[in-house]
């Protein structure tokens, strides 16, 4: 390298210039695992959307049978069905990732050894099934 064409070294107080790349705003698209993480976080938006829909339903219930019938009818529109389907999958994604990750936060030791993750996750899944069936039964009775 010809010294006379070399760029002058930019020294900061005690060392030469480091290379410090900025993290791109699209960092989460760079890797499949990062994208999956962001999708998991975005599932919370669909949870919030469900709450809003439920509140609208409660308001319709309060306003009488015709109002509730109109609300039910709106839920049958193609847009609503598509949104419900997408929401359902995102919320399922939330449930599964939640139960799979929750054991990591709890270091429960029995007889000197830490309980494996599925021992804590499995009862959660079982309880989820029981609760879902119970809700369904209450509503459909």
């Amino acid at each position: 390298m010809n010294p006379s064409t070399a760029k002058p070294v930019a020294y900061t107080e005690f060392h030469p210039r480091w290379y410090r790349p900025r993290v791109s705003v699209y960092w989460w698209l760079g890797e499949w695992r990062y994208l999956r993480f962001i999708l998991r976080e975005l599932s919370s938006v669909f949870v919030a959307a469900f709450v809003i829909a439920t509140l609208l339903g409660l308001r319709a219930l309060r306003n009488g049978p015709e109002a509730y019938a109109r609300f039910q009818h709106r839920l049958q529109s193609p847009t609503a069905i598509v949104l419900s389907t997408i929401s359902f999958f995102f919320v399922l994604f939330h449930t599964i990732t939640w139960f799979n990750l929750a054991p990591r936060a709890m270091a429960i030791r029995v007889g000197g050894k830490r309980l494996p993750d599925f021992v804590i996750a499995a009862p959660n899944y079982a309880l989820w099934l029981v609760v879902s069936v119970a809700v369904g039964w209450l509503v459909l009775r």
């Binding site: 760029k7 070294v9 480091w18 290379y19 993290v23 960092w27 990062y34 993480f37 709890m106 270091a107």
Partner: protein, 259 residues
Amino acid sequence: MADKIILEIARYSPEQDTNPHFQAYEVPVYKEWVVLDALNYIKDKVDGSLTYRWSCRMGICGSCGMMVNGEPKLTCATFLSSYALRTNKIRLEPLRYFPVVRDLVTELSDFLLKLKKVKPWLIRRDTPPLSEGEYLQTPEQLGSYKQFSMCINCTLCYAACPVVGLDPVFVGPAAIALAQRYNMDNRDQGAAERMAVLAHPEGIWGCTFVGECTRVCPKHVDPAGAIQQYKLRAVLDWMRNLLPQKARPEGGQGESFNR
């Protein structure tokens, strides 16, 4: 399996470059060679200016971490053959989210400052006299923190964690896992001091449980688990602090998490 493979290595010289560029080297593939062997081959026989860190070559010193095809790995623990079967190129870059000093060498002083901040040593409020004998620790008590003590400070977890990249003030996985290692040690009485340092937005609360740190850790420390356990503990501490002094249950401030 081919008998040669190409290593595309990030080169950066602060005196000549503003940005890194890649340089390709062809190295032989032997079934027992790791990426570090290939780097040493290049430095010995091809290009002596290549700069990188390494030491023990057996996965215990934590010096040789770098990005291998976009994944943070210890080069002494990554076999050439596992890449040679699938591809004819390996891309080597310095660990992500750290400033680059030169070629594959990262600047670690920020990490070391964060490590020091969490006080990764046994803290005692009282020192019993020698006549009282040694501190006793059962195998179960050791078992409760042993996993976190396996950390070799290789900073692969920092290269994997997006929050480290997005928030330079975030303390980071290894530091919190090591804080938890001391918190869970029954000989330690410094849990409250560490809580004061870590229980704020740039400490444990900055973590959003991406989980990448645990996935890339070569010593299976599970820093993500350590952080979530720490969060639970912080919540319990917060609830305890809501109670007036006299009503607080035993073993709060200043005691180890593991009595």
